[in-house]
Symmetry: C2
Subunit: 164 residues, 2 copies
């Protein structure tokens, strides 16, 4: 009978997959003492899926790719290098990892956790850019938090701090 059949297991949509990988990557960062901010707007107009601040002041970008098409459609990922010391892709187990360039680090998510499969090379930020990036990162994180803490003033706070 139809009623006794289990519901079909649907493949996760690209956005659900992106969210799951992003969450696993954020948890990976936090476990190492790297403080992650999601959807971080950069001065070049792009948004990093995740920009993490390390205890030593270093910055890591993690770029989430939900599927091969998502990666192949983005020719501009090298631009993230300009705003971090190390760059990683984060994908899930279904992603064809051989597509990804060897000179970028790789995190692989499985459920809520992620593992580092390949370390990223270090390309140190210039001091002036690091200072500016830290100021931007701090304002974005604080503005989002302040907006959440004052629902009535949320729109005003976001607009005033122009952090997004």
């Amino acid at each position: 009978m139809a009623l006794s059949m289990p519901p079909p297991v649907l493949p996760p949509t690209a956005s659900a997959r992106t969210l799951a990988v992003c969450r696993a990557a954020a948890r990976f960062c936090a476990q190492r003492g790297w403080a992650p901010v999601r959807e971080m707007p950069l001065p070049n107009g792009r948004r990093a899926d995740l920009l993490a601040l390390l205890p030593d002041g270093g910055f890591v970008v993690v770029e989430v790719k939900s599927c091969a098409r998502d990666f192949l459609a983005d020719a501009k990922w090298p631009e993230y290098r300009d705003f971090c010391d190390r760059l990683y892709f984060a994908v899930d187990l279904d992603f064809p990892a051989e597509l990804l360039p060897a000179e970028v680090g790789l995190l692989v998510a499985e459920g809520p956790e992620a593992t580092m499969v390949r370390e990223a090379p270090c390309h140190k930020l210039a001091p002036s850019r690091r200072r500016a990036l830290l100021q931007r990162y701090a304002v974005v994180a604080a503005a989002r938090l302040a907006a959440l803490q004052d629902p009535a003033g949320q729109a005003e706070i976001r607009a005033a701090l122009r952090a997004d």
Copy 2:
């Protein structure tokens, strides 16, 4: 008849008053482009009610006082000076403002908004302390935000980032 009488207007409790003044002070900051973080743990073991980062990299502490007793019980407020460029008290209209020292700035909250009644003198942070404070501020804000975005991993994230 008893039923037609309006409910009694109870005075707000100290904590409700603190919260209301704190929210108004946070909104005041945001309106000026200062990004406020509430309940900011400082290296000296104290917590600033509000530490705001200015666009030029400056830091402001706003210390909320709910009532005269709250102010008189805190002999250590001068210690906040060591972690900001300018220090303000924030109070509401019922607070006896003449109690407050003239060498500290003053914000007065009325409902959801606050007004600057007295500007604070500037005592510039040393560059090394400013750098360390910005790193701490950024990690606290990002860690709180990351914990909110991952309710299941919240405790783990907060513990790992040791930001509070």
